[in-house]
């Protein structure tokens, strides 16, 4: 299938895949908006500990935040490489993005397991319930993003990722950057404003 045959334009001249994906991201805003609202409404209403200030590790999470920000940089560098047909660097940046995503997930697994060891679970209190649901949902999104990136990386290894597929990479980048901006909000509202 040629690139021209694969591209579908809307009557507005926009790529229908990008339009659909932006609509999806809009719906994701509402999903995370509801989860963040729930967290904030129940904030400070736990009657038993552990409480946020007892358990949240700001230095560790700051490193995770830096990691995710750098992964966003890797993603745009991957897109730029695909657009100019530089397959070698596209492979490197795509793998680097996925690797940083995996590192972030590893950090989240470590954080969650240490919280459980310290007595915070989904059932412990309102903080535990809303915290795990919010950050767990974000982590699930990161997991999907990593799998998507690794798929693109494999396609790049097979030599099937050129400038004709730039929109495909751009859409995966939109998803990845959205996951990043959600974390920017979570880091501030959950971790820094206690």
């Amino acid at each position: 299938m040629t690139h021209a045959a694969a591209v579908h334009h809307t009557s507005m001249g926009l790529d229908s895949r990008k339009m659909a994906f932006w609509a999806f991201i809009g719906s994701e805003c509402l999903l995370f908006g509801s989860l963040i609202s729930t967290y904030l409404i129940y904030k400070g209403k736990s009657v038993v500990g552990p409480y946020p200030h007892d358990i949240l590790n700001i230095p560790f999470t700051s490193v995770s935040t830096f990691d995710l920000l750098m992964s966003s940089l890797m993603m745009v560098l991957a897109l730029a490489a695909v657009q100019r047909g530089d397959l070698k660097w596209a492979k490197i940046w795509l793998f680097a993005t996925a690797f940083l995503g995996i590192l972030f997930l590893g950090g989240q697994v470590y954080e969650f397991s240490s919280f459980v060891r310290e007595g915070l679970t989904l059932q412990t209190n309102l903080f535990g319930c809303t915290f795990f649901v919010l950050t767990g949902t974000h982590g699930a999104h990161v997991t999907v993003g990593v799998l998507w990136l690794l798929t693109l990386w494999v396609r790049a290894l097979q030599g099937k990722l050129g400038p004709a597929q730039a929109v495909t990479v751009e859409i995966s980048g939109l998803y990845w950057h959205f996951v990043d901006v959600v974390w920017i909000v979570i880091f501030t509202l959950v971790y820094l404003i206690q």
């Binding site: 001249g13 790529d15 932006w22 700051s62 940089l73």
Partner: protein
């Protein structure tokens, strides 16, 4: 109108500059959190820094600054709705507590 305007996308230099600003803002966020002098203005400062980081990623990395305005509408509409719902819920829950507290105080005074 072409659907993808790769030639309008920022160049690598812009991506790197945005990344540097994001790192600086993150360092500022963590710094503000730890410096006691900032605790009086901690919440507005953190919210402002977070909003700038959010905007930088959306405008430059997600290309909303250069892409079709319709994409901005598709993203900005639900985002605005989410923020309005969030603020309304916070006002509903925490406003209720404030009014109840004021009512108790008023009753005690009477």
């Amino acid at each position: 109108m072409p659907e993808t305007r790769e030639h309008d996308h920022p160049n690598v230099g812009t991506y790197l500059r945005v990344a540097a600003i994001l790192v600086i803002l993150t360092v500022l966020e963590v710094g503000v959190f730890y410096v006691p002098a900032f605790h009086a203005v901690l919440v507005p400062t953190l919210l402002a820094l977070s909003a700038v980081k959010f905007a930088l990623v959306v405008l430059f990395y997600m290309h909303l600054k250069m892409d079709s305005r319709f994409f901005s509408f598709l993203f900005g509409g639900p985002l605005l709705l989410a923020v309005v719902v969030l603020v309304a819920l916070l006002f509903l829950f925490f406003g209720q507590f404030t009014l109840r507290g004021a009512g108790v105080a008023g009753g005690g005074g009477g």
